[in-house]
């Protein structure tokens, strides 16, 4: 009898240790008009009809903070978030404990050392289309689409935001209050409300325009309500 009980207890513990730990992490959802953006769908605004064809950005160096002393760094440093690949929106780590974190900090973009480090793989592989070829450097954020306001061929807007050298560094640090569910949105309605697409529709190289736009974009992260 005793033996049987011990065996049952042992088996239960054994099974428990094989049950995968629940992965926790953060989700960065690009939204427009309060909903997750759907590529190639028309959104109607007062000033135009707008459509997104490609939306990609790098999030790096994610850290969770509690008080001044406790910090958890996500082991994978660079994450390419690509709206056409829904799995990429969720950044998971088994080690994130459900502790009462105060805040999360991260960088929107790639730091200058990594920009000068030569060929890298994974999310940083140049086949991802997020590395400029005519000059060195990562495109930190790529926003492409169409708006009836753009006086360009096929009404296209293209924002390739990058640059890592002084004085036009585009990597932006952001800190947000920790959301219990780890859900964050990147509110593109807010960004686009600051852009006059009639005159500002094409940014393809580093410079002040790219810095200005990424500075605004970095303020468009919110914990999801």
């Amino acid at each position: 009898m005793m033996k049987t009980i011990l065996f049952i207890i042992f088996t239960v513990f054994l099974c428990a240790s094989f049950v995968p730990k629940k992965k926790r992490g953060l989700t960065f959802t690009p939204t427009f008009q309060r909903n997750i953006i759907q590529l190639d769908r028309d959104y109607y605004r007062y000033e135009d009809t707008i459509r997104f064809s490609s939306l990609k950005f790098y999030i790096s160096n994610i850290k969770l903070h509690k008080g001044k002393s406790k910090t958890y760094c996500f082991p994978k440093r660079f994450h390419l978030i690509d709206l056409s690949n829904p799995a990429s929106l969720r950044i998971l780590s088994q080690k994130v404990k459900k502790s009462n974190w105060d805040s999360v900090s991260f960088t929107l973009g790639i730091d200058s050392i990594t920009n000068s480090a030569g060929a890298l793989g994974g999310d940083l592989d140049p086949t991802n289309g997020m590395y400029w070829t005519w000059q060195s450097g990562y495109i930190n954020t790529k926003i492409e689409g169409f708006s009836s306001q753009c006086p360009t061929r096929k009404n296209k807007f293209q924002f390739h935001l990058g640059g890592f050298t002084f004085p036009h560094q585009t990597a932006q640090k952001a800190t947000l209050p920790y959301a219990e569910d780890g859900e964050y949105e990147l509110n593109f309605s807010k960004l686009f409300s600051t852009i006059n697409l009639e005159s500002n529709h094409t940014i393809m190289s580093p410079g002040k325009k790219a810095v200005d736009m990424t500075e605004i974009l970095a303020t468009c992260f919110h914990s999801k309500l």
């Binding site: 480090a117 030569g118 060929a119 793989g121 140049p126 086949t127 070829t133």
Partner: protein, 342 residues
């Protein structure tokens, strides 16, 4: 048992020594420390061989017509002799002269305007340029993965059949790092094997007085940027480094090229405007156009007598490295790209 162990140890040591010997000379004794970090991409004979194959393979271009060697030929010290501007896909003509390739581990930037900050990333520029190879990085990698030769080669060198952009670029870098030119007559004079003629000796003296501050020994370039007083070619309107930095002080600055292998790599200058060394010297004595960004070293007029020009050119020719230019290790890998059928 012990005997076997000894055999294995001796064999490994032998292999190790062989490997070291093989790459002996890639960092010449008289050169400064290289800028490329070899630890991040340690040289390996299989990886070098893949790099060499990629370098000569037109698979890197959109319609499989243009390879790196189309504009960087081994017999021209990996430049494109007789072509002032580079040629590309669909008979496109570029805007700059294809530079010679050697001693690349000592360059801190690449291209005439320094647009590229790392040797690994340089190949992305010609591959993706509409007028050079007209491809996309992703498409090239897809083609390599589907090819009959590359997955096998990558597996033996990198331990994986899955070719990525990173691995392709690192392999190309490996081959390019082996393109070391350090066996010219100048180098042999420096190591005591040969002697300069009196003309060459006088030319060397003139070189040190007038040229060495930018074309610094032993690489014969500081690999910095300078405006060397060329009047602008209005058909190209190329303002050099300014395009990259967007700074007015970089207007008309171009990367200073090495003076090694000049006999093989004409025409000269970023737009290949001079065919003869004489024309180059005449530019420095009589053709300098003053401008706010002109190199301070050229503000004072340089004068050479006609005899001095002859001597200086005699010296410059001692920088030709025939052993490098005709090194069979750098040539087209016929056995891989064009294997003979039984």
């Amino acid at each position: 048992m012990n005997k076997n162990l000894i055999v294995i140890v001796v064999f490994s040591l032998f292999l190790f020594a062989f490997k070291c010997m093989k790459y002996d000379g890639l960092i010449p004794l008289n050169f400064p420390a290289p800028i490329y970090n070899f630890e991040e991409n340690p040289l390996d004979s299989n990886k070098i061989e893949i790099g060499r194959t990629l370098f000569y393979d037109p698979i890197l271009s959109k319609d499989n017509t243009i390879s790196c060697s189309s504009c960087h030929s081994p017999y021209n010290a990996f430049a494109h002799t007789d072509h002032d501007l580079s040629h590309g896909i669909y008979d496109s003509i570029g805007t700059r002269n294809a530079p010679a390739l050697f001693n690349l581990a000592w360059h801190s930037s690449f291209m005439w305007d320094g647009a590229i900050n790392h040797l690994d990333m340089q190949a992305l520029a010609p591959i993706n340029h509409a007028g050079e190879m007209g491809e996309t990085t992703k498409n090239v990698v897809d083609k390599l993965n589907k090819s009959s030769i590359y997955p096998v080669l990558f597996e033996s060198a990198f331990g994986t059949k899955e070719i990525t952009g990173e691995l392709m670029l690192k392999a190309l870098t490996q081959f390019q790092l082996t393109l070391v030119s350090a066996n010219s007559k100048y180098d042999q004079v420096k190591s005591g094997e040969k002697f300069f003629s009196s003309k060459e000796q006088n030319g060397y003296k003139l070189f040190k007085q007038n040229c060495n501050s930018c074309h610094t020994e032993p690489l014969f370039s500081s690999y910095q940027f300078a405006n060397n007083g060329l009047p602008i070619d209005s058909t190209l309107s190329d303002y050099g480094r300014k395009r990259i930095t967007q700074k007015t002080e970089d207007n008309m600055l171009f990367k200073i090229p090495s003076l090694r292998n000049l006999s093989y790599s004409y025409p000269y200058m970023h737009d290949g405007r001079f065919n003869k060394l004489n024309q180059v010297l005449n530019h420095y004595t009589n053709g300098i156009k003053d401008s706010p960004t002109l190199s301070l070293k050229l503000k004072k007029k340089i004068t050479f007598s006609s005899n001095e020009k002859v001597d200086l050119i005699a010296f410059l020719k001692t920088l030709d490295d025939k052993a490098f230019v005709f090194n069979p290790k750098n040539k087209f890998p016929r056995s891989i790209l064009l294997p003979e059928k039984d």
